[in-house]
Amino acid sequence: MILTDGLRSIGAAVRLWFSPARVREEGATPDYRFSLANERTFLAWLRTGLALVGGGFAVDQFLPRLHEGLRVTFTLVLLAGGALCTLRAVNHWVRCERAMRRGEDLPVSRFPTALALAVAVLAVAVVVLVLLGRTD
């Protein structure tokens, strides 16, 4: 039940990305300053995604003595996290734009909390590995 609901909402979101003209058919064009603020939020999330992808490259390059499997895992997790962040960036941007046009409340999201926890776990793991001397 929850799964089908989730899949349906993902489907609706993806349809919305690819028919953005539909967003503009709804409601009234908001004050351009609000749209620009939404655009800057989108860019900030895009930078977060870019930073995670860059972090993945950094782990692979600057921890050369880390165990091969661990290094590849960290790198892949960071690359996937970066990809997820960029997808979330565009999704959140479209949803905010639509909410502003309809005069609704802006969407709330668990994503920032989830991302913060994931980054914290990853950082603690790397710190522990460095302290244990597994990186040299």
Binding site: T29, R33, A44, A51, A58, D60, G82, T86, A89
Partner: protein, 120 residues
């Protein structure tokens, strides 16, 4: 964007009105930061390729591909920054947003290929 005179929308209507928030300027700088992040990321990816022991055809194709993706990213951002100089900037075209995200995803995918390619 269906702009035009809209008496119900608050805020500066004519292009010459004062905008105390300097919103277009701030948004332009946000774009600049984003292109810098993309450049740093591309530089790290390039460094990753240079570290390979025996660069071959796969590495060359990846380097060209990532260069083109970076170029597309920066070009899109540049066009958007140009649009920002208008007194009342148009909204971000959804196509631009999608293309930027596609470029970033493709760059991340290149990273995965770099990681798992044979001989790494």
């Amino acid at each position: 964007m269906a702009g035009g005179a809209r008496p119900d929308v608050p805020g500066p209507r004519p292009a010459l009105d004062r905008d105390p928030g300097l919103q277009p300027e701030r948004t332009r700088l946000a774009w600049r930061r984003t292109t810098l992040s993309a450049t740093a990321m591309a530089a790290l990816a390039g460094r990753q390729l240079l570290e390979s022991d025996a660069p071959g055809a796969v590495e060359a194709v990846l380097a060209v591909l990532m260069g083109l993706l970076w170029l597309a990213f920066v070009t899109l951002a540049h066009r958007r920054m140009r649009a920002m100089t208008a007194g009342r900037p148009p909204g971000l075209p959804p196509r631009t947003a999608l293309l930027l995200v596609a470029c970033t995803l493709a760059l991340a995918l290149c990273g995965v290929v770099i990681l798992v390619r044979p001989g790494h």
